[in-house]
């Protein structure tokens, strides 16, 4: 049991963070809060990948002349790092577009509260 927790506590924390993000996106009424929830979900997903790249006793994936390249156990796995670099960029740009939409919504309705927006879109 203790081994399980020691090996997986990072995953548990990240799942918790993922749940918090989903909760914020569904329950919070302010659009900015929804965007924050979105960024939390993305961070949690990215961290899961990073955790998967970790190796006990591995060093960072930059070649060190003193450490042999032949034994891959001595370096961390560079693949998830690369993928997550891309994923971070994607996350940032998505946030940028969501800000653009939020500003656009505010221009039209002068509010960012979801309930009020739903009411106003219905009544027209």
């Amino acid at each position: 049991m203790l081994e399980l927790i020691e090996g997986h506590y990072a995953y548990f924390f990240l799942m918790l963070l993922f749940m918090i993000g989903i909760y914020a996106m569904m329950m919070k009424r302010n659009l900015m809060k929804k965007i924050m929830g979105m960024s939390m979900i993305q961070s949690a997903t990215i961290m899961v990948w990073i955790v998967s790249a970790y190796k006990d006793g591995g060093t960072i994936p930059v070649m060190d002349p003193n450490i042999s390249l032949d034994n891959p156990d001595l370096y961390l796995n560079p693949l998830p790092h690369t993928l997550m670099l891309t994923a971070i960029v994607v996350a940032v740009v998505t946030l940028g577009v969501s800000f653009a939409l939020a500003v656009s919504v505010y221009r039209n309705y002068n509010t960012l509260d979801e309930n009020e927006l739903l009411d106003r879109t219905k009544e027209q």
């Binding site: 930059v62 670099l85 960029v89 940032v92 940028g96 800000f99 653009a100």
Partner: protein, 145 residues
């Protein structure tokens, strides 16, 4: 925020810090082959320098540094550098983005990949820097005419 601040301290600090941030950005970009860093981080730092200027000295005054109406075009040029490299590799008889088939045959393949990576990262830096500035300008409706 779009206007000039009225505090001289902020303005001087912004003017002083922005070039340093951009210098670090350029360093990070060229250091990418040997340590943490690379095109994207360098581009973000360069963009951060410009955004700092945009915020401190005002959007109008920072137009001379990077003009808002050109950012989108420059972003496209950055992307063209990347995609164009890939197309040139196809024309050279290889697969898409295969640096070993770029038409610079006097280099051996490993070094062609080395310089290919550098060239492509140049495109990334330009594209990311101007792309992020464009998003900021659009959110704040910086006048670009």
């Amino acid at each position: 925020m779009t206007g000039q601040t009225h505090s001289p301290i902020i303005e001087v600090a912004g003017r002083g810090l922005a070039p340093i941030i951009q210098l670090i950005g350029i360093y990070v970009f060229f250091h990418g082959h040997y340590g943490p860093g690379g095109g994207f981080q360098g581009g973000v730092l360069l963009a951060a320098g410009v955004l700092l200027l945009r915020m401190t000295v005002g959007a109008e005054n920072s137009q001379a540094h990077v003009a808002a109406k050109r950012t989108l075009t420059n972003c496209a040029i950055g992307a063209v550098i990347f995609v164009g490299t890939g197309i040139v590799a196809i024309l050279g008889g290889g697969y898409f983005l295969d640096y070993a088939h770029l038409p610079v045959q006097w280099l051996e393949p490993a070094y062609m990949r080395y310089y290919g990576i550098l060239f492509v990262e140049l495109g990334i830096t330009l594209g990311v820097m101007t792309g992020l500035i464009t998003i900021y300008d659009d959110i704040l409706e910086v006048d670009y005419a």
